[in-house]
Symmetry: C2
Subunit: 536 residues, 2 copies
């Protein structure tokens, strides 16, 4: 048992949420302190409120008892720190029990959820109702919280992939226990509350995203009408240098609105990680897998140095025209441009060899990769990308995967670059060289999430059970962070160990600190999250 | 000369910006105090800084001297208060001299501007460079500030019509004179500064929109690549009751992304105001123009009870498919669905009578209205909509229009409703009845600016030189505001006389007040703007 400023803190929380929902068992706390990389934060208890009123009371108790409290929704913030707080000796405020879907409109295409609502829960909800609406899904995990991912500005693969841009009307509990609703929702019975983001007066939603200014307890998510027709596209380039032309060819299509969703471009290492574990069985299998060895896998598996995918949404006519424009833009710049729809996917699964003959793709193998990504582009959550966190493990992924528990090493570094070939080449070149030098396979993806920029994800994947790997991963991340910041490529999201990188140390950080002192004078809420802790 | 807490305030400002740029002439101040409706605020001086450093110094002086200071960009906030502050005895901080276009990228499609940059200035800038990019334009005036309109969340007619949603990287001077840059721009030489809105950590841009928390001195605006092909569409319905089906038919097209820009739907009164002044020459011309008389004009002019317009952007193939879908959706629900492109517009102007024979539109007359709206949908600023502010005047609009100077009465009331036929009918029905009862023509437009909501603009247009009209307009506005708020239709934007309507009087307003006290403890910046003044 650990110390609180207030001896009765645990009793007070137990009174607020019920004694069954205050967890202090050492084994459970140890698990919650375990991420996919090394952290040194201790968690003193887990408190699990059932509703917004209990959240309010929990924050009031934390303020009275001067105890830091760290909210998690599903705690599946893998690659960035899982459930681990940004500072030591926090109480975890686990919002997982607040899992109600509180409003839904088929006609106006939205759903209003609590923080415990997961991707798979919303997906099932829509299926049960035979809804003609699609959600957007992130590749993280079906059991990932929608609010958690959105507030961290996570993204997905449909036209609604920029999650934070497709939300409306937050309900937020402030550190002092006060509740506000943003946008028009602050007016009782405002008709446009779930429909119009800005409301009237200052727009405050952004204050509560990637911050420690409040706990979001409800959010409206806009949903996308299922298109009449859906077609995925895939392409690749054989050499590293082909990336630049590929990006520059896609940009005009994104800017013109022809491509309504993200194109996702993965390098060879990234695809290999999605396909299989590390080839321990190969002769001379010393890590990291060398560029030379990787070239061998490219040939065997029929993948390129860079492998693009994305999807077209619309009527058959709209998709046909987009396909024509995509073909024209990519002509001579990529190879194996392939289109796949539900019908062809069914056929291809049955006639893989025949299909390979015509398309050059080894479908028997590739369908394994394509199908989950294909589903993601339709907003179907999938566990499949999680298998890649087991890349460096010697045993295959278990049926019930848990990267935290299983010692999977994963650190995600996510710099943003202009949507230009030159920038993509420079960024990925530096990342590749750095990763290999530290002994990691440079698994990299580029997502053209919004028109003008690229969200890059560099995955440092390793086995935490191998001595020294945690330290090397940390050093590698730090070097990536500082080197690429030097080139002007800053991350859109940070791990719990690297939050200081959100601070430029100037007037902006000072403003955030001022806001923090105002909204949370006791500094009880998620200290250090996207804002350095000021010593008192 | 008026009083300041600090005798030397004017001298200090004169030192900061140069004596030529501190204006205290009574005639000029009287003009600046004049809006398109009655206000009772006195302005004590106008200070005109040349750059950001001077803005900083001006705010520091205001803080030292405890003098309220009210920033305007171009001061063309017509219908909402022009240059008039929300509280008495402010100094106007006129940012008009800061009119530099400081960055531009054809490739990544953006421009970075200062507050004095106007619509016509950006338009000319793009034309000079033979740019293939389009700006979005609002109908207000070519001399309207881009930053001013965006920070008030004004809107236009292209796919980039939601102005605030298409900006990035603000530079803001806080009330204490500190400067911050938002998003990635806070990191020196961040490559994605003008390209990626959210940056890392809390997203603060919304704090400075419709607020009094800071002065925006620079902003990046995203521009739209000119489409290969552009086609406008027009349609109407004959009776009031047709509106509902029209809205419900358009909604799925907007939600599916087939319509990428706003559909704009104007009632008969609104179209008549755009076409001509009040028909004083008609027998029995007592105001307001009755519904019966309006029906006569509908017949004569060939307009409907509701008149829709919008545009399709893309390749010829994309536009063809969108046109097919629009035709199908509107079939049986509207009449006279007409498509117009550059070629046909040229032909129609030459062969108007011939065209009328086939289409049923009186083009000789309608081209007068259609051409400026047509241009707006291509992002071309126009003075044309301004003529309607002279609707109730006896003399025609002068060559150089200035509604403030000319005693044009104009109050814009702008409630937001769900994008549903029922809501549109209810809202416009109440507005129409109320307006006529107060003696005003109910000129109403509905803009489906974003997928799920309708931005309604009710124009109270009158002659300020007619005794009693100012008072009636005020009373009418107040009744519209309170009645429609009762139905849950709240305005997206407020006049300088009605800022209290942004307050729900609860926790949200209290949070805003807390932020205001923190950021502006002396309450020197734009007191009362979107936030009630708390008596000290």
């Amino acid at each position: 048992m650990r110390q609180y400023k207030c001896d009765s803190a645990l009793e007070q929380w137990a009174e607020a949420v019920g004694p069954d929902y205050v967890v202090t068992g050492e084994a459970v706390l140890r698990q919650a302190e375990t991420s996919t990389f090394a952290t040194n934060r201790r968690i003193s208890a887990i408190v699990r409120p059932a509703n917004r009123e209990e959240v309010q009371e929990c924050l009031r108790i934390a303020t009275r008892c001067q105890t830091a409290i760290y909210p998690i929704s599903s705690g599946k913030n893998w690659g960035y720190g899982s459930r681990v707080p940004c500072s030591d000796n926090c109480v975890l405020l686990d919002l997982g029990r607040m899992n109600h879907i509180v409003d839904f409109s088929e006609e106006l295409a939205y759903v209003t959820v609590e923080p415990g609502v997961t991707q798979s829960q919303l997906y099932a909800f829509l299926r049960e109702r035979h809804s003609a609406l699609w959600m957007d899904a992130t590749g993280a995990s079906p059991s990932c919280s929608l609010i958690g991912n959105t507030m961290e500005r996570g993204f997905g693969h449909t036209p609604y992939g920029d999650h934070f841009a497709h939300t409306c009307g937050l309900e937020v509990v402030l550190p002092d226990g006060t509740v506000i609703e943003t946008g028009f929702a602050r007016f009782a019975s405002a008709q446009a509350a779930p429909l119009h983001r800005w409301g009237v007066g200052p727009f405050l939603d952004g204050l509560f995203s990637q911050s420690n200014f409040g706990v979001v307890t409800r959010m409206t998510i806009w949903l996308m009408p299922a298109p009449e027709y859906f077609q995925a596209y895939y392409f690749r380039c054989e050499g590293e240098e082909g990336l630049s032309a590929m990006i520059d060819a896609l940009r005009p299509l994104r800017l013109s609105g022809t491509l309504r969703s993200a194109s996702h471009i993965a390098n060879d290492y990234k695809v290999l990680q999605a396909l299989r574990q590390y080839p321990w069985d190969q002769p001379g299998c010393a890590t990291p897998l060398s560029a030379e060895a990787m070239k061998g896998f490219r040939k065997t598996l029929g993948i390129g140095a860079w492998n693009g995918s994305g999807a077209l949404y619309g009527t058959k006519g709209q998709v046909r025209e987009a396909r024509r424009l995509l073909r024209r833009a990519l002509a001579g710049k990529v190879t194996n441009l392939t289109f796949l729809d539900d019908r062809l996917l069914g056929l291809a699964a049955r006639f893989a060899r025949f299909y390979q003959f015509f398309s050059g793709w080894d479908l028997k193998l590739m369908l394994e990769v394509l199908t989950p990504v294909y589903g993601l582009m339709k907003g179907i959550p999938t566990e499949n990308p999680m298998t890649s966190t087991y890349w460096r493990k010697r045993d295959p992924p278990p049926a019930s995967m848990d990267p935290d528990r299983d010692g999977c090493g994963l650190v995600w570094f996510s710099p943003v670059a202009p949507n230009k070939g030159d920038d993509a080449r420079r960024l990925t070149g530096i990342a590749t060289e750095t990763m290999l030098r530290y002994g990691f396979e440079p698994a990299i993806s580029l997502t053209i999430l919004i028109d003008r920029s690229i969200s890059c994800i560099v995955s440092i994947t390793y086995d935490r059970h191998v001595a020294g790997e945690d330290e090397r991963a940390k050093a590698c991340y730090q070097e990536l962070l500082s080197t690429l910041a030097g080139y002007g490529y800053h991350p859109y999201r940070l791990t719990v160990n690297s939050m200081d990188a959100a601070s430029e140390g100037g007037a902006y950080t000072e403003l955030l600190q001022t806001l923090k002192r105002t909204l949370d004078p006791g500094a009880i809420l998620a200290p250090g999250r996207y804002l350095p802790i000021v010593p008192t």
